[in-house]
């Protein structure tokens, strides 16, 4: 099956062209073309996953290459497909969510005048995303990286008649470009120093010490900038909430489950290149993002915006998880999040479809009208809130465990764990606030409530499937075994010299990694300043490894208890406030008005950027425009004007002063003297004079 991997992206590409070209004239406007393409892709993905699962080998790898660009053998770029366990999992995740979203869209987009165009865009997205997943090099992932950006642009701006949508798609594209700028520079730095682009080749070059130290840190952070843009991390997170202007299935597919996770996937994919310093940057960016977005979600009242900020926040968890050394944890959360967040988004789509509003202040009591939507929504909410037994618990707990482990090894970074734990409580709170306000209580808008109804089967079937995937038993066990942290490519000696990854952690995956479930332990990159410069002898090594495992075990146990505790508190508080009404949220809001306003305005990020970067660029371009018109061009016109005056003077001089005695010379003078003046009339025969002048120059030069 794995031999057919290239069909997975290529079929949607074909579907894209078919639907763009003749979609409108096909029966059912061509939705089945896109649906079929991704369906076959899903089947192949599952087949590949089956093979990988049969092999059950943490080091499984399938790699094919073919040349793409070749500058006479001196510079060759190869395109290739790389499938390892992570890829196999991602393929299934992307294809599943994509297939279900296609299915959901058949109902949701029914009757839209650009129905077949919508499916074409979904297909081009699937193509780009799957290409991104299958890429084997920094170069090709960059290409597909930009292409998913394009699909995102097209889909956010799908209803381009709305100014908000048109603004949002441009914002998404440009903000992503800012991140990609860093990605590109990081890539260039890697390429300039190593001369290769394939992941494995680059890792090998790093092992050989072709790039190290600060430069390698910079390259890593550059690449990570791409992830900051695409995965909507602070400070480039501002595009994601606006992206909700796109149709809701798009929000589910691209801006929740798959594309935004591409940044996380990228960090996972190139994991061996990051230095400890780069990892710290990654971890803290994740922490800042997960906290800020969770606080904004607390005060948001638009159902999609709440989910959007929760997506930012969960992506922050993944990024932070990867940053603190929780490779398996971060990728596990990516996988589980894809299912439950897609379920939440499609659920919100089902709700919006029923009540035609996105404001939760106008909902309430929908439980009675749409039971399937409500139940699936609640299941997914339990998952995101981290309730044991659900998938989110499994993966988020691993992240918290990794963060605590990191914090125990490096006490100065314990904030990473504390912040993430606190935010886990916030997450549980705002998600249950959303559920209660939407589905329970009294309907706040009777007109909308009366018209509400359960969505058709092609919309609720995907919900049920996704809700089914939100239980933890699907993931525990095998995931931790198959997806294991790759060895860092940073050479031991140089890493230690930079206060970096200890030999044991760099060379071997931690032994506890095969335990599965919450027992997955990963050795964290350490920031301890004094590590031995060479690997310890074997005996000590064993002892240290068992010490590591013990520490990891302790960390994960504490993390589990505290996260369950905090989650329960959050849920309880949500019930206290919104179910029982013992605390009036309005009163709380008015008693700390500045904080509430601050959160309602999303920490004023948009305003800040408008005033600084955007305003600055605008002012600069206006200034440059003025400069160009008045200074550069003004200078040119001035020179021309002077030329005209001089010609005029010479003309007068010629007429009145020079007489016929010097006719031979005068002719030439008149010719050049009136050169500029006569130009104004459009005559060009003077041209001949200049050529004649050229001949004179030839003569003169020859003489001298």
């Amino acid at each position: 099956m794995i031999r057919y991997a290239h069909f997975i992206p290529l079929l949607p590409l074909a579907a894209y062209f078919i639907n763009i070209a003749v979609g409108r004239r096909l029966p059912r406007k061509g939705d089945w073309v896109s649906l079929g393409a991704i369906g076959i892709g899903l089947a192949i993905s599952i087949g590949i996953f089956h093979e990988v699962f049969q092999a059950y080998d943490p080091n499984f790898k399938y790699h094919v290459v073919f040349p793409w660009l070749d500058l006479g053998g001196r510079f060759v770029l190869k395109a290739g497909i790389l499938i390892d366990n992570v890829t196999a999992v991602m393929l299934v995740v992307v294809c599943t969510v994509s297939f279900l979203v296609h299915l959901f869209s058949v109902g949701y987009m029914h009757g839209d005048p650009r129905y077949s165009r919508f499916f074409a865009y979904l297909s081009i997205f699937s193509f780009s995303m799957l290409g991104l997943v299958l890429s084997d090099s920094f170069f090709f992932i960059y290409i597909f990286w930009e292409l998913v950006g394009l699909s995102s642009y097209l889909l956010i701006g799908f209803w381009f008649e709305k100014k908000s949508a048109a603004d949002a798609c441009k914002k998404a594209f440009v903000v992503n470009r800012v991140g990609d700028f860093g990605f590109l520079l990081g890539f260039l730095l890697l390429f300039a120093t190593t001369g290769v682009v394939g992941y494995d080749e680059v890792f090998q070059a790093i092992r050989e010490g072709k790039i190290e130290g600060t430069l390698l840190t910079l390259a890593g952070i550059g690449i990570f900038c791409g992830a900051i843009g695409k995965s909507a991390q602070f400070p480039l997170h501002v595009w994601l909430p606006d992206a909700m202007e796109g149709p809701t299935p798009v929000s589910a597919l691209i801006h929740a489950a798959t594309m935004v996770a591409a940044g996380v996937y990228l960090v996972g994919r190139v994991y061996p290149i990051f230095t400890p310093d780069a990892f710290l940057v990654i971890a803290y960016i994740g922490l800042i993002t997960l906290f800020i977005s969770a606080t904004i979600a607390l005060a948001a009242t638009d159902i999609k915006k709440v989910l959007a900020y929760s997506t930012c926040s969960q992506l922050g968890y993944m990024i932070m998880g990867l940053g603190v050394g929780g490779y398996t944890a971060g990728l596990a959360h990516l996988t589980t999040h894809a299912a439950f967040k897609a379920c939440l988004f499609l659920g919100s789509g089902s709700v919006i479809h029923a009540v035609h509003t996105q404001e939760i202040t106008e909902m309430g009591g929908l439980w009675k009208k749409m039971k399937i939507t409500a139940v699936t929504f609640i299941v997914a909410t339990l998952a995101i809130a981290g309730v044991p037994g659900f998938s989110g618990f499994y993966s988020k707990d691993m992240i918290l465990g990794a963060a605590l482990e990191f914090g125990m090894r490096n006490p100065q970074h314990i904030l990473l764990f504390a912040g993430a734990l606190f935010t886990a409580g916030l997450t549980a709170f705002y998600m249950f606030r959303l559920v209660i306000l939407t589905f329970f209580g009294k309907p706040r808008d009777h007109h909308k409530y009366d018209h509400a109804h359960e969505s058709p089967a092609n919309m609720w079937v995907p919900l049920v499937i996704l809700a089914g995937l939100s239980f933890s038993f699907w993931y525990s066990g095998w995931f931790g075994t198959l997806v294991q942290k790759p060895a860092s490519a940073i050479p031991v000696v140089s890493a230690a010299a930079h206060g970096g990854v200890p030999a044991a952690a760099a060379a071997h995956p931690a032994p506890g990694a095969t335990h599965g479930a919450a027992g997955v332990h990963e050795s964290a990159p350490q920031a301890k300043p004094h590590e031995p410069a060479s690997a310890p002898p074997a005996g000590e090594h064993g002892a240290e490894a068992s010490h590591d495992a013990h520490l990891a075990h302790t960390a994960h146990r504490y993390a589990m208890f505290s996260s369950v505790g905090v989650g329960t508190l959050g849920i309880a508080l949500a019930f206290v406030v919104y179910w029982f009404g013992w605390i009036d949220p309005e009163k709380v809001a008015s008693s700390c008005r500045p904080v509430h306003t601050f959160l309602r305005n999303k920490w004023y990020f948009d305003e800040l950027y408008e005033a600084t970067v955007i305003g600055g660029t605008k002012a600069l371009s206006r200034a440059m425009g003025w400069f160009d018109n008045n200074v550069v061009d003004g200078l040119v016109n001035l020179v021309a004007q002077i030329g005209v005056w001089v010609s005029w003077l010479i003309g007068k001089f010629d007429n009145y002063v020079v007489d016929g005695a010097v006719n031979g010379v005068a002719d030439v003078t008149i010719g050049s003297g009136s050169f500029f003046r006569r130009f104004q009339t459009g005559k060009l025969y003077h041209y001949v004079y200049v050529l004649a002048g050229g001949v004179i120059i030839i003569y003169l030069v020859k003489v001298f």
Binding site: L71, G72, E161, G625, D628
Partner: protein, 524 residues
């Protein structure tokens, strides 16, 4: 083969130069009253010209570095002037770009040009003679003749068929380019006499001049003269202000040819003359040239952003794009130069297409002000698709032509200067900003202007000339190998030769000599 096909076959390049001239002569005898016939004949001539240029591509051996299809006939032997033409990996695609863009451009004039059709078409064909000649000539005198020949028809195209301020724009265009040409002429003559002093032979043969070892100080001044001539033409910041005026006033077809081919004559000039003839000066002045290129990239993009006229916006974006080309060429390595050449072709296709796009809406609304539009996507869906593709290609989206060129350029220049490359790469962000913002204001939103509500979509003729451009946009983007393959040998020989000649010229110079000492004897 016998008869005419055989003659054409063995003198293919000559046929390419003189076919448009023959076409122009033929037009003289056509009746003025039948513009349709004149247009059809012109189109046919340019189409045959394009088809005739294809054998050059197929016959061109990409593994050979030197000139191919060479023809050399003594012309004025007393002065060492010969009719010497040929094509190599540097000029091949520019030649094809020229012959490819011509029929497209002619087709775009069918509805747009109504006044003095016959004269217009004669000028177009003369223009083609000049452009093809510029890219083929390897005799400096011959080159200069073609270089100047291009100037005259373009001057009239802008000055007669242009917009309101056409006279101002035409004169500005003419004076700027002409000022550069005169400087270049002086340098060519100096070179000519230097060659005589060094070898005892009078000759304008470029290939012979490549072998000269010109004294370093002399290189400086000659490079300076060539630099100005070509920098005016490219145009590089700060010599660019003729370009927006010329573009805005020129008729659509004039803008297309101006952007697609004429600007490339400047960048081509650097590759063909300024760099290989004066390698020491070229390398020494690289920091300055590359800095100007990067300023051009960012400056052009910023100024684009505030333009109200779509055509002016595209014109300034050209300044930005050609900054990339210059940066690539002066990276002086294979990636940079191949990227630069490819980007010349890309810019020709994408910006040419953008001007055609602007022309299409101008023909319908007789305005190019962005504020007059809005919401067109819904009214003219076909047009919207074409416009979107061309816009994205101009932004340099992967999968399309612009990306490959820009990417190779950045790879090349990163090796040469990291700092400059960082600044240059920021131009990629700015390009997205100004292009997408323009696209949004023209195409997205609701239709606010009643005049736009019932615009007709693209017709068959418009589609016919747009499609080949779109095909190439994707072709180069997806499989650039077709195009890069043919330039490999030439470019790598070029890079090697420059470095070798530079080493030779500096062999007896003290190491660590400052530039002031090298060129002005300061501090010696």
């Amino acid at each position: 083969m016998t008869g005419i096909p055989a003659i054409i076959g063995s003198n293919l390049l000559t046929a390419l130069i003189f076919l448009p001239l023959a076409g122009a002569l033929l037009l003289i005898f056509l009746p003025k009253e039948n513009p349709r016939l004149v247009k059809n004949v012109t189109f046919l001539v340019t189409l045959v010209e394009f088809l005739l240029s294809l054998p050059v591509v197929f016959g061109f051996d990409g593994s050979v570095a030197g000139m191919q299809f060479v023809e050399k006939i003594p012309w004025l032997p007393a002065y060492g002037i010969s009719y010497h033409i040929g094509v190599d990996g540097i000029s091949l695609w520019l030649l094809i770009l020229t012959t490819f863009m011509m029929p497209i451009t002619i087709l775009s004039t069918y509805a747009a040009v109504e006044k003095n059709v016959k004269e217009f078409m004669i000028f177009m064909l003369l223009l083609e003679v000049g452009m093809v000649g510029v890219f083929l000539a390897i005799d400096l005198f011959l080159f200069y003749i073609f270089w100047e020949l291009v100037l005259i028809p373009m001057y009239f195209l802008i000055g007669v068929w242009g917009g309101e301020r056409r006279i101002y724009a035409a004169i500005k265009f003419f004076l700027y380019t002409f000022a550069g040409s005169v400087l270049m002429l002086v340098a060519i003559l100096a070179l000519y006499f230097y060659q005589h002093r060094a070898t005892g032979v009078y000759s304008f043969d470029l290939l012979a001049m490549y072998d000269l070892n010109i004294p370093v100080k002399m290189q400086f001044w000659m490079f300076g003269a060539f630099f100005l001539a070509f920098a005016f033409k490219v145009p590089m910041f700060p010599f660019h202000t003729w370009l927006p005026d010329a573009h805005v006033e020129a008729p659509t077809s004039g803008s297309v040819i101006l952007a697609a081919v004429l600007l490339k004559m400047g960048t081509y000039g650097f590759l063909r003359f300024a760099m290989p003839l004066f390698p020491v000066a070229a390398v020494d002045l690289t920091p300055a040239v590359a800095t100007l290129a990067v300023i051009g990239i960012i400056y052009g993009a910023l100024v684009s952003m505030v333009q109200k006229d779509i055509k002016k916006l595209v014109a300034y974006s050209s300044v930005s794009h050609l900054g990339f080309v210059m940066l690539g060429l002066f990276a002086m390595n294979t990636q940079g130069i191949e990227g630069g050449i490819l980007q010349m072709v890309n810019h020709g296709i994408s910006t040419g297409a953008l001007f055609l796009i602007v022309g299409i809406i101008y023909e319908r609304r007789h305005t190019r002000l962005i504020e007059e539009f809005g919401g067109l996507s819904k009214v003219v869906p076909l047009f919207a698709v074409c416009f979107m593709i061309v816009t994205l290609s101009s932004i340099g989206l992967p999968g399309m032509n612009g990306f490959v060129g820009e990417f190779l350029i950045l790879l090349g220049s990163f090796k040469a200067s990291r700092v400059l490359t960082v600044f240059a790469a920021s131009g990629v962000i700015l390009a997205a900003v100004y292009m997408l913002w323009m696209f949004q204001r023209v195409m997205f939103g609701k239709v606010t202007n009643e005049k736009n509500r019932h615009l007709p979509d693209m017709n068959a003729r418009e589609l016919a000339y747009m499609l080949p451009l779109l095909v190439l946009i994707f072709w180069i983007g997806v499989y650039p190998q077709t195009f890069l393959r043919k330039m490999d040998a030439t470019v790598s020989a070029f890079v090697t030769r420059i470095e070798a000649k530079r080493q030779l010229a500096l062999a007896d110079k003290p190491a660590g000599e400052t530039l002031l000492a090298r060129y002005f004897d300061v501090g010696k």
